[in-house]
Amino acid sequence: MSMPTYLGMPAFPEAAAEALANPQLRRNLAHATGTIRTKRAAAVAELTDWDELRAAAKAIKDHTLANLDHYLLQLEEKVTAAGGQVHWADGAAEANAIVASLTRAAGTDTVVKVKSMATQETGLNEALAAEGITAIETDLAELIVQLGRDRPSHILVPAIHRNRAEIREIFRREMPDAPAGLTDDPAELAAAARSHLRRAFLSATVGVSGANFAIAETGSLVVLESEGNGRMCLTLPETLISVVGIEKLLPSWRDLEVFLALLPRSSTAERMNPYISTWTGVRPGDGPRAFHLVLLDNGRTTALADKIGRQALRCIKCSACLNVCPVYERVGGHAYGSPYPGPIGAILTPQLRGMSSAADQALPYASTLCGACYDVCPVAINIPEALVHLRSLAVDSRRHARFQTDFPAERLALGAVAWTLRGRRRLAFAQRAASASRKLFGASGSAAWTRRLPLLGGWTRTRNLPVPPPESFRAWWARTRQDDASPDSPPEIAPGLPSPGTAPRQTGSGTADE
């Protein structure tokens, strides 16, 4: 199964270390996740039966997954009956090839796209570019990311790592039709994006989307969005291609009464997001004349086969777990090296991509197992349970790997991160050492000697250490968690992490990146 790893992607510990050294990123993230957390709690509290809705959602998804062949066939039949065409894609390359050839067949070399996790997962834009097809991202945040030649860092707000001044700079640099005198007022920036994209929408012949839900009983597809770019892509082009993971199915139209109550509140903290579009096949005189549904496996059946890992397929990509995660809030989305960041990414990515790379073996360790993600998850995915399970699989897969005698650097590194989080004195020591290095080496320095530090060395054996952040994790923890935890009681650490007593000595060679 393939999910392209990000070009030059460092494994989580290194990427995390880099992110930690970026104070702008940390400020943006802390502001954003904090704001969403508060709003979401209010939106959820408004529904007195949240627990019942959550239980129903979990049961519906579990039932669908347990009978997935049945529902996939039903969906295929209904979509076909309504005038759509269904394609099955084993992996990313096939899905991309299908989209490329359908685009060609429609006689164009440009597609307009509405934000879709599935096509990020398959690396569709890059695959289309290789075929000479331009994919225009139309979601404001995706546009910011695309123009900034950047990667999304959050499922819901992909440009969460950019502030308004940075966005204005990107627009002025990359958007030829940006108005002169564009300020960094978000309303002005949004208006610039509106006029920039309007021409593309009005002339588009092929639209590409994902879907939040696919209803087996009726063959209907459902897309939730806010800006109207989704409606544009789903409505105006003559050909619509939707790439949808096979886990997105719901048995019946009626099930939307559960998921439309849970998803907007859990993701954007709204009672309902501005626009929801549903469509079934094609409708003469209204919208696209051709509809193609590409059903994507790409590792999902591997996850489905794992009784514990399977629950990750219930995910409705609300991103609530990102916003409560102390590790995500600290390191941001890029460190996870996958379109799926945060707690869900830590359990979904290794299952979709397989555990063969060091980066993916490291992901299940990108967590303190504090359990906040499980508490907020609207489909009750027990992320800590899945993490512990995947950690054991990572160890097994290492045992069978050819470099079996070498202790996995990423695992050690993340163990060290967690160990550092846990122990007050160790943390204080590491920070003293790190900030000392900062003083010694100035703003742009890097410190080769930190490789000898007992804790930080594991992060950095293949790279120089970025300048340590002015605000340490511990200080941040104390500042932002005053209500629920004292600085001396960081989150629980799971059993199974390398403890300081048993961590093997580091040797000078054999990190998995090399």
């Binding site: 704001t35 299908i98 050839s101 309007r198 209907s220 939307l256 109550a261 009672r271 501005p274």
Partner: protein
Amino acid sequence: MSDWARPGSPGAAVSRERVLGRVRAAIGRAQGAERDVAAEYAALPRGYLRAHHDPAEHDIVALFAERAADYRAVVESVTTAALPAAIARVIADRARAGGTGAWFAVPAGLPPGWLSRVADGTPGVRLAGDDPPLSALELDSCAGVVTGCALAIAETGTIVLDHGPGQGRRALTLVPDFHLVVVRHDQVAADLPDALAGLDPALPQTLISGPSATSDIELVRVEGVHGPRTLHVLIATADCQG
């Protein structure tokens, strides 16, 4: 076309069988094995409420008005008798803002009478039907669109279009920058379950909760990106309620 993209081609059939085969292996089901999926589905727990505000105890039309306004739609209640005058007034205001030559798109099947007063309010304002269909560029140049709806949802402040008579095809309420929508009081459902049960999934549905919006820049909510930047809702109440 590559082999994969052609349904019925050997490549496509192989992928289909491979994916289905892996699904069956993963869930431990043999093809065609007996199971009662419908019975399993019917037994799923649904302990949640059918409505968070019981219509017997709450004024759900008022709740709809309040919640639609929460998302910065412009919401007004008028009696059914006063509706044509209200529509004329809203269009006149918008036409003035749009300058000379402002015209409005109108779907087929609007109740007769709704637009009867428009000419009084704004002499010279043009109403354009969508037959033959207006092009996307034409829609982009109109001052707005006037429609009815299929139903509304009080709990979430949502308007639902099923693009039937009086609502137009989807592009009609998408490309123009201004959408005036009329909701009859008897079209307001209390909550999602009743609303969804009243919709036909075979039709395209558009659920609208406030004007288009984004929070992508520092989570600051900005109304109006690609959809209509102004959503004006007229709730037609029963005449006797005044």
